[in-house]
Structure formats: structure tokens, C-alpha cells
Amino acid sequence: MADPILVLAEQLRGEVTDITFEMLGAGRTLAAAAGAPLHVALLGSEAAALASQLGVADKVWVVDNPQLDLAPAGTVAAALKALMDQTQAGIVLLGCTNVSLGIGSMLAALAGLPLVNFCRAARVEGGAVVCTSQLFGGKILSDVKLPDGRGVVSIYPGAFPAEAGRNDQTPPVEKVDLPVEAPKVTFKQYLEPEAGDVDITKQDVLVGVGRGIQTQDNVELAEELAQVLGGATCASRPVIDQGWLPLSRQVGKSGMSVKPRVYLALGISGAPEHWEGIQNSQCIIAVNTDPRAPIFDGAHYGVVGDVLELLPVLTEKVKARKG
């Protein structure tokens, strides 16, 4: 049997996050192809209580140590390295998320292993793991091989179905003590999301704006359309970073995940970080000047054109239709 595949379970505020189940599903498929067992590392003081949810795994290693609660990447990586040594794990899967960012790189450095980032698909080929990685804002894919079948793989959120990582079985759990160094980065407090005037996660219609909106004044054009549609405006990171819309309107990796009936993506290229937040929308309409923008690969309807020309016309037409 091949060396175990180890998944780092991700948790936030006492809950196992979706990416964990997505990784378990991906790991289960890889493990079957490689003839390897699937293990999970669950760290921190709440680990023991959460282990029962990870029934897809062949074994859950619980490291019940409060120093691993919201521990910095370096501390988590050192614990994982110790666990790899103890369990002979060859491949480690972890989340390409803000929560886990940096752990993979640190682990790769500590273990002298290669890391594949932004992984969207993975397969076993002649004993080696080949990952498909999404680069340059989703414009290019790259198939990369982990030499010697060993390495760290950072799994992109939403790339693998979470259902494949859930079942109602109880996994074998083993507690393990690992040396944990005192972290030089210490958690102080959570800062809750700013309560905005509008909760964009509850809107039926969202008018999302990206770089293509060009100026703060133009955001007003999107606002007018949102108003006649009875919805709200929101934005991708560059627009929020410019301060053109408040933080409570940010959609994507660091911001909100939304699922409106209609999402209008105006001047948004569709980089993976933004796509992550809008993929569950029922209908996505994209307007962009670049016909090759990745947003058109996922949207239902598209217009290749200038959003600034289209917006006022569209607002008037909607008004007219509503009567």
C-alpha cells in the first residue's frame, strides 16, 4: 500500500469549513487511485469534538493542543511536519484559503517537498500525482507532476464537490501528542464584519462592479441600475481597495459569498478570487470589453462591450419595461 494521503482539516470558530469536505472528497478519489489510506489531521482544542464529521477518512489524527487554535502558519506547519514523519504521509492536501494561507509553503520548506498551489483537479498517473493548477487569474491552466509522488497540494475552494467528502460514518480517531513551539504570532481578537446598510447576501439582484467601472463617479451608474432593479451594488476587490464602495459590499475570497437570482458582473474579469464568491448565483450576466475574460466561461449570458455605454441605456430600458 502506498503512503497515506493526509488532509489538513480546516476549521473556523468551532466549525469545520466546506473546503475540508472538498479536500476529503478529492483525497478519497486520489487515495483509491493510488491504493493509499486517507488520513486527516485535526488540530486545536476543539478537534476531538469535530472528528466525528470526517467519516470519509480512514483515520483522523487529533492533536488536542490549545496552542494550535488559530496558530500562525509556521506553528501549524511544524506540527504537520512532525505528523508526516510519524505517519509516513507522502501527500498533504490543504486549503487554498485565507485561513490556511502560508501553511503549505512553510510545510514544503520544512519538509523539503514541492508545493502545488491553486489546484483545481488531480489524478494519479503511473504512481505520480498530477495536479491541474489555475494560474494568472484563471487565464492559464498548468498540469504539474509531483516528482517521487510526494508533495503538498493547496486545493482551490469550489473546485471539488463537498458532497463527496461527507458521509454519516464515524471515522477511527487517534489522539497524538506533537511538540508545539510557542508561537511568535498570537491571536488577539476577531473583528466582526462591518454591518453595512445593505446585506448583499440577502439580495435577489446584485449589480457587481469591477475595475472596468474605471472611476468612483461611474459607480453611481451601477447604483441607478441596482435601484430600478430593487437590488444593491457590490464589487470585486480592486473597487473596494480604492474605497469606491464600503467593505460590506465586497464579494469574493475575503468578502462575501452571494447567491442572488441575478448577478450582473460589470467590468469584472472573473478572477478565481471573485468567482469563488458568485458561483452559486442562479443567473450571471457578464459585461466586459475583453472577449477572453474568464467571466464569460462561467456566466450564463454575456455582452462583449463597454459597460459605461451600456449602463444608462439598460437602466432606462428596465424602467420602461417595469412601466
Partner: protein, 258 residues
């Protein structure tokens, strides 16, 4: 404070990206480069910290197309020193890049003092092998935090805000010296007029510090690079804004939102 900003050039994705004939890299011929977005924020955060606490901002980069312009722009914005490590970034994975930068910090030219912060961008669109920030922190054995959007420094410690998801953030305390991967600065990156950049070109030199090219450019084996197949390509509407708007209104009506 002793502030280092690590700058990385990345292909500008506004331009069309093509795969080269070997099928394993980007076609360099028509590639245009720009500064990695989070790195621009890292520079802004460094300038804000300098304004508040005094000190010196040093920008450090490997060699890449159009990088001199970026270095002069940084100087014009208020950086005190620009360092180019004469190793061509092309074809290097992040592990190799971090190695070159770590060598600089092991030398006298990149002295790390008790009040030092190393500020790379949190991540880059071509970080196939991982991010520079944690790799550098591992090499230099410094504390690290990524996805940072706020930094306050008091008495040898930094209070740092990291972004999670859904608008949730958290505050951490970090002992200096440290590496902080910056996602966004507390303010939008400042604008600098071209005249000031030209003046910097004339008055401020770019320093070159000897570096060893890494013996292993990539840790991974790239089998192929390709453009994604448009799986569920959008139904495209064409025509003048009037015609297109009519079709979009139909879609909106069909979706039941108007």
C-alpha cells in the same frame, strides 16, 4: 523603522496570454509585465508606516522586464533605497525566488534589525509553488502572517489584521522582526506624477547587490500549460447598446426579477 518591500513583476492579465511552442511556459514575446497588485499595496503600507514612525523604506526585486520603471516609481513615491538583485526572474518558481531574496537578507546589504518588517505582497497570480512571504519567513526563521490589511506598530510589536472570509477579520500580535504578507494597505496606493518618476530616474540610483542564481529554478515538473476550455461558455449578445439592452431586459424578466 527598517522597512523592506519585496516587489515581484507578473504578466499583465489584461493582455492576451499565450503558451509558448514548448507548451510549458508563457510565450514571452508579447508578454507585458506589471507590478503584482498586492505588492503595490505592500509598498503603500510601508510608506504609511514610515510616515508614522520614521525610518527607511527599501524596495527589493529580482530582475524582470519593466522592473526599473517600477523601482523608480517606488523611489518617487517615497522609498529611500531601490535594490535590484541581478538574477532573471523568468522561469523561477517561488522557492527559487525566496532563496535569492533570503541570500540578500543574509548579507550586510539587507541587514535585519530589531525594528525590521519585511513586506511582500500576500500572494501573486503566478505563485505556482507557493507564496514568497512564508517561504522567506521559513528561510530567515522569522514570524509570518499573511492576508494582512492593517499594521500598527508599538514598542517592538506589531498589531496586525488578517482577513479571513465573509468580511471576518482578526487581530494578531507579532513580534518584530517579522514577515507580513500584505493583501491591501490601509489606504489606496498613492498616485505619483510622471514628472516625479522622471526626476527619480535622474537623481536616485538603483543599487545592485550580487546574488547567486539558484541551481534549481523549479521544484515541480511542469507537464504542460494551456488555456482553459470554455466549458459553459456564456450565451453572448451582440449589437448596439440599445439592442443588447433589450435582450438583457428579456433575460431579467425571464429570471423574474422585473
Amino acid at each position: 523603522m527598517n522597512l523592506y518591500v519585496l516587489l515581484k513583476m507578473v504578466p499583465d492579465t489584461v493582455e492576451e496570454l499565450d503558451v509558448s511552442a514548448d507548451g510549458k511556459s508563457l510565450d514571452a514575446e508579447f508578454l507585458r509585465f506589471k507590478l503584482n497588485d498586492p505588492d503595490e499595496h505592500a509598498l503603500e503600507q510601508a510608506l504609511l508606516l514610515k510616515e508614522k514612525h520614521g525610518g527607511k523604506v527599501t524596495v527589493v526585486t529580482l530582475d524582470a522586464p519593466e522592473v526599473d520603471d517600477v523601482l523608480f516609481t517606488a523611489l518617487a513615491k517615497g522609498a529611500d533605497r531601490a535594490v535590484k538583485l541581478p538574477v532573471d526572474q523568468a522561469g523561477l518558481g517561488t522557492t527559487a525566488i525566496a532563496k535569492v531574496i533570503a541570500e540578500f537578507f543574509a548579507s550586510h546589504a539587507g541587514e535585519i534589525t530589531a525594528d525590521t518588517l519585511l513586506l511582500p505582497g500576500s500572494q501573486a497570480i503566478d505563485d505556482l509553488e507557493g507564496e514568497v512571504a512564508p517561504l522567506l519567513a521559513a528561510a530567515l526563521q522569522l514570524p509570518y502572517l499573511g492576508v494582512v490589511c492593517q499594521v500598527t506598530v508599538t514598542e517592538g510589536k506589531a498589531t496586525v489584521t488578517k482577513e479571513f472570509a465573509g468580511g471576518l477579520r482578526a487581530e494578531f500580535e507579532v513580534t518584530l522582526p517579522a514577515v507580513l504578507g500584505i493583501q491591501s494597505a490601509e489606504r489606496p496606493p498613492r498616485y505619483v506624477p510622471v514628472a516625479k518618476v522622471r526626476a527619480a530616474m535622474k537623481s536616485a540610483p538603483i543599487e545592485t547587490v550580487d546574488s547567486t542564481p539558484p541551481d534549481r529554478p523549479l521544484q515541480l515538473e511542469i507537464e504542460r500549460m494551456y488555456k482553459p476550455e470554455a466549458a459553459g461558455r456564456a450565451e453572448l449578445f451582440e449589437g448596439a447598446p440599445e439592442e443588447v439592452a433589450d435582450k438583457l431586459v428579456d433575460v431579467l424578466a425571464k429570471s423574474g426579477v422585473i
